[in-house]
């Protein structure tokens, strides 16, 4: 396909953009390259931030990749979905449509903004199904690896802070697998082969819930800020633990004292509401959402 190579995932909260920067451009090609294309490449690769909200995740960049017979780097850029109009406006200003490239897009926004792309940017989107793209993406990224490392990893001894460590996971024989995609909301897919998969269920308690609740509870304004706060908080002040109710473990059900019995359960009390910090609240929100996703995912794995 003709350059530039883009892939766009327009989610409920964030737009994810991947850009392939060819590194094997011949002198001949360079000569033929139109000014627009050059300027786009330059703009994207020489910056790490775009406008006030666009960010390039430099640490994720995949180097020296071969894609469709070309060598180059894969860049990962993101910006909030509510800036989509500005993004389309920019595409229009840079005369993106004159490049005659096909803009492949997925995610709900591919449908929601299709009309805007056409009218404002004179661009025809190639809409692709979200779940198809997701599985293709997982399999591809694992196949190329992460700059020599394994893309897929897991945590060993996750409940033991001392011994917990991140270890690579081999995805050579992946099927069947459960794919839990946590965006604003959560979709859970059971994947039996490259082509054979189904959406098992989903939950509305996802990244958007974490971020949304954190904004309301702490007044933070970015996802990073929310995560940063969470990393400094103590959720046990906010949550009611098993030991808060039973004084220790609840042996009848094999529940350890440290398990959360009621998320935000301590917040029923006025005194305790007044004694918790924003960080504690952010941490509790994170724990609530992640535990819940874990629980549903486990049940789906068992049922499937």
């Amino acid at each position: 396909p003709v350059f530039p190579w883009f892939g766009l995932d327009i989610g409920g909260t964030l737009v994810k953009l991947v850009y392939f920067e060819p590194k094997d451009i011949t002198a001949e090609e360079e000569e033929e390259e139109v000014e627009n294309l050059k300027s786009i490449r330059k703009y994207l690769t020489s910056n790490v931030a775009y406008g006030s909200t666009g960010i390039r995740d430099v640490h994720l960049e995949l180097k020296d990749l071969t894609l469709c017979g070309r060598k180059g780097n894969l860049h990962f850029i993101r910006f909030p979905t509510h800036d989509m109009p500005a993004f389309i406006q920019m595409g229009s200003e840079k005369h993106f449509s004159s490049l005659h490239t096909t803009l492949c897009a997925t995610g709900g926004g591919a449908y929601k903004f299709e009309q805007d792309f056409r009218t404002m940017g004179d661009l025809q989107l190639c809409k692709l199904d979200e779940l198809d793209c997701l599985i293709k993406g997982v399999l591809y990224i694992d196949s190329v690896g992460f700059n020599g490392h394994s893309e897929c990893y897991y945590f060993e001894n996750p409940t033991d802070a001392e011994r917990c460590q991140k270890l690579p996971f081999n995805l050579e024989n992946p099927y069947p697998l459960l794919l839990v995609n946590i965006g604003s909301g959560v979709s859970i897919l059971a994947v039996y082969s490259k082509e054979n998969y189904k959406r098992v269920t989903g939950t509305s308690l996802g990244g958007g819930t974490f971020f949304g609740l954190c904004c309301l509870l702490t007044g933070c304004s970015t996802f990073e800020e929310a995560l940063e706060m969470a990393s400094h908080g103590d959720s046990t002040k906010v949550d009611k633990l098993v030991r808060d109710i039973y004084g220790g473990d609840y042996e009848r059900f094999g529940l350890p004292g440290w398990a959360v019995a009621s998320s935000f359960g301590n917040m029923m009390s006025k005194e305790k509401r007044e004694s918790v910090s924003k960080e504690d609240l952010a941490k509790a929100t994170l724990i609530t959402i992640t535990n819940n996703i874990g629980s549903i995912a486990r049940m789906c794995a068992l049922n499937e």
């Binding site: 989610g11 409920g12 909260t13 995610g107 709900g108 926004g109 449908y111 929601k112 903004f113 779940l131 965006g183 604003s184 909301g185 269920t201 939950t203 509305s204 308690l205 996802g206 990244g207 958007g208 819930t209 971020f211 949304g212 609740l213 904004c215 309301l216 509870l217 007044g219 933070c220 304004s221 996802f223 906010v238 949550d239 009611k240 109710i245 004084g247 009848r252 059900f253 398990a259 959360v260 019995a261 009621s262 998320s263 935000f264 359960g265 301590n266 917040m267 029923m268 006025k270 509401r273 609240l281 609530t288 535990n291 819940n292 629980s295 549903i296 049940m299 789906c300 068992l302 049922n303």
Partner: protein, 731 residues
């Protein structure tokens, strides 16, 4: 519990019962003596009481216990729930009893099994946007296995397989405490009930990110509707916008209910269970949470699983704790009956009626259950006990019928109270008690007008039973005792002449005359207003006149020809079970000649009468005396009694209606032993208000005269229309 103390206690209750006793007639002038002696005696029965106190009034609760702990050997009080720890010292100090803490979940499940087994219409499903928000389920003979999802601060999911076997299979920390705690943080509203109020007024779409917010419409390839929540609180991901308290509370409620519903469905699927009962303070009678949980279960199970709720859910733990303490008495060996007089109903959900009550979190303030003297079981001849519904019309469903019957019972109330007072002429406070009865029943009727679902499915039977319970409550154990005594006496005097005239008829004529006699006897029913008017104004209204009032054939429901054919062509029945209706003319001149004919054909007869009084229905003890007197006149009856071919049993009921799923165990045993192949049910209460559609495994005869013009009209007939329904089960 967290905010309420629920108390279950067992006591003996002294109340008056009517007894009948045969006179020793030897050497006396039988002609002018009454048939038997009626006496009112004190009887002691066992009753389970349940009562609620707010924890703020724990001292009042303890005083209450102290006041009731008289003449008792009680040394230990069983306690469960968080408060069992919190209030342990206070309880021990104040009451001088040892507090025995019991496991919460064990108590909960014990209590749950108990109500599922003993309280009819305990279980209901919630339906949104329906005239009747509550749909009650009939008790399934086999209650296991089920899933109990208890939503307190957190969520516990328990699989219950047998009486003693249950397993905690999972849970979630996102529960009522999350709604309350997070809700309080978000809205600065402190009380749980106020949060629910806020939620019921909010618009979650202002806070939640919907599928259409992401896609611009539905996600069609997956069939996800545009209105589905994609991300709870997904729109609040901004620091510079204000959200209303109502909207946030609603969004939170949806988030939590959906999450619990989803997990419950996943667990139900994994364990292959289709019944999920929900309980805990998050649910407790709150229509808002029942609605969202029901929606969620329906969505996630694609309609395969139904969310079910319990009327007495708030009491399960207390009931269970009590049962643990009473294990040596083995309460499960008994049957229990809900006492409608002593129980308050399900809270109103209509905001216009009781705006104050709506905010309360209790489904029930009081519950009383009477221990029945004998265990109750299914009639073994029921075709399908799991689908048997005794009542013909569900008045919670049928608004027109409900209006009519409530008015009908209201209009009859003054008369009932008057008759009750008149039945105890020697009692100084009879008038006062009758007025108290009138007031109590009147209030019950008003409650039922506003909340038809207050005591489970509203039926003519429940209205009648409630009236009986209220009469008993004010010591009118049997207002009709004297009327029955008199009528029995009069009817006995006519017995021989009736038999003679029947015997003079040819076989076919006699069969018809017997059926007509049975129907005519049934006209004598003090329970129906139309007849009581006639009877009170024309006391001479006799048996023959009753016959002439009957509708001419073809009757409104008429399978008499098939019945006659069956008698003519078929072999005699092995054994007939007859549920008798009224005292006096009905039993003596209607039922007995019929019984006599059956006996002569070689058919054994089990005659089942009520254990306790209801209206002018013949009771078991009355039937013993009446039968003895008839036997003295009639050799057929006499020898049948001697040879045990005629057996008298009690039904286990004190209702003018008949629930074939709750009958005396002795009756059931006898029915099986004698290989009963014919069931005869007579009277409006037993054959029309109940059992009209009951399917049996054997032949059955349901007969009644419709003595209510509205009902007759509804069935397409006139007053005194005849129902004669002979049914043979399909082979």
């Amino acid at each position: 519990g967290g905010s309420l103390t629920k108390l279950a206690y067992y006591s003996t209750v002294q109340h008056k019962v009517a007894r009948v006793r045969s006179f020793d007639h030897s050497g006396k002038d039988i002609e002018n003596e009454p048939l038997y002696e009626i006496s009112v005696q004190e009887e002691i029965t066992a009753r389970l009481h349940f009562i609620k106190f707010e924890n703020t009034y724990i001292e009042t609760c303890l005083d209450f216990i102290k006041d009731h702990l008289v003449n008792t050997e009680t040394k230990v009080i069983k306690a469960t729930g968080g408060g069992a720890y919190k209030f342990k010292d206070l309880i021990e100090k104040k009451l001088g009893l040892k507090v025995d803490k019991e496991d919460v979940m064990t108590c909960l499940i014990k209590g749950c099994n108990f109500v599922l087994r003993n309280i009819p219409h305990e279980v209901f499903a919630y339906q949104k946007d329906s005239d009747t928000e509550f749909r009650f389920q009939t008790n399934h003979p086999n209650i296991f296995p089920y899933l109990l999802v208890n939503i307190g601060s957190g969520v516990s999911i328990v699989k219950v397989e047998t009486e003693d076997k249950f397993e905690w299979i999972g849970g979630s920390s996102i529960g009522g405490g999350t709604f309350w705690g997070l809700g309080a943080l978000l809205t600065k509203t402190k009380k749980f009930d106020e949060l629910l109020q806020l939620a019921s007024k909010g618009q979650h779409t202002n806070v939640d990110m919907l599928v259409k917010d992401v896609y611009g419409g539905a996600y069609q390839t997956l069939g996800l509707s545009g209105n589905l929540i994609a991300s709870s609180f997904g729109k609040s991901t901004t620091a510079d916008k204000e959200f209303s308290k109502e909207d946030m509370a609603k969004s939170l409620l949806h988030m939590i209910s959906n999450d619990i519903g989803q997990l419950a469905c996943l667990y139900a699927k994994l364990h292959n269970l289709d019944k999920i009962y929900f309980g805990g303070f998050f649910i407790r009678g709150h229509p808002v949470t029942m609605r969202t949980i029901t929606y969620s279960i329906n969505f996630f199970s694609k309609g395969e699983v139904q969310a079910l709720f319990l009327r007495h859910e708030g009491y399960l733990g207390a009931i269970g704790a009590f049962l643990k303490g009473a294990e040596q008495d083995n309460p499960n060996q008994y049957s229990w009956g809900e006492n409608y007089a002593g129980s308050s109903g399900l809270m109103s959900t209509s905001p216009d009626v009781y705006p104050m009550q709506r905010t309360r979190s209790g489904t029930f303030d009081m519950l009383e259950m009477d221990r029945l003297e004998r265990p109750l079981v299914n009639l073994p001849l029921l075709k399908d006990p799991s689908t048997y519904i005794p009542d013909t019309v569900d008045l919670t469903d049928d608004a027109m019928a409900r209006k009519y019957w409530l008015t009908c019972f209201e209009e009859a109330l003054d008369g009932v109270a008057k008759r009750a007072a008149a039945s105890q002429p020697d009692s100084v406070d009879a008038l006062e008690r009758a007025e108290k009865f009138r007031q109590k029943y009147w209030n019950k009727l008003q409650t039922l007008r506003q909340q038809p679902f207050a005591y489970g499915t509203l039926t003519v039977r429940s209205l009648l039973d409630t009236r009986e319970h209220c009469l008993n409550e004010f010591n009118f154990p049997d207002p009709y005792s004297k009327v029955k005594q008199k009528e029995n006496g009069i009817a006995l005097k006519c017995f021989q002449s009736v038999i003679e005239s029947l015997d003079s008829l040819g076989w076919e004529e006699r069969q018809f005359a017997l059926v007509k006699g049975l129907l005519a006897g049934n006209v004598f029913d003090w329970g129906a207003k139309a007849v009581s008017d006639v009877l009170e104004s024309e006391p001479q209204f006799g048996f023959e006149e009753a016959k002439s009032k009957l509708q001419e054939r073809p009757w409104l429901e008429d399978s008499y020809s098939q019945w006659l054919e069956r008698l003519k062509e078929g072999p005699p029945h092995k054994c007939a079970l007859i549920f008798a209706d009224n005292s006096g003319i009905d039993i003596i001149l209607g039922v007995f000649p019929f019984v006599r004919e059956l006996l002569s054909r070689g058919t054994e007869v089990i005659l089942a009468c009520n254990s306790g009084p209801a209206l002018n229905d013949v009771t078991y003890s009355e039937s013993l005396i009446v039968t003895e007197r008839i036997a003295a006149m009639d050799p057929v009856i006499q020898s049948a009694l001697r040879e045990e071919k005629l057996l008298l049993v009690q039904t286990g009921s004190s209702s003018p209606c008949l629930d074939l799923s709750r009958l005396d165990k002795g009756l059931a045993v006898l029915v099986r032993e004698r290989k009963t192949d014919l069931v005869i049910i007579e009277g409006m209460g037993r054959a029309i208000h109940t059992n009209y559609y009951a399917a049996l495994k054997c032949e059955s005869l349901k007969l009644a005269v419709i003595k209510n013009s509205w009902l007759a009209d509804r069935l397409g007939g006139k007053i005194f229309s005849v129902i004669f329904k002979y049914e043979v089960p399909c082979k």
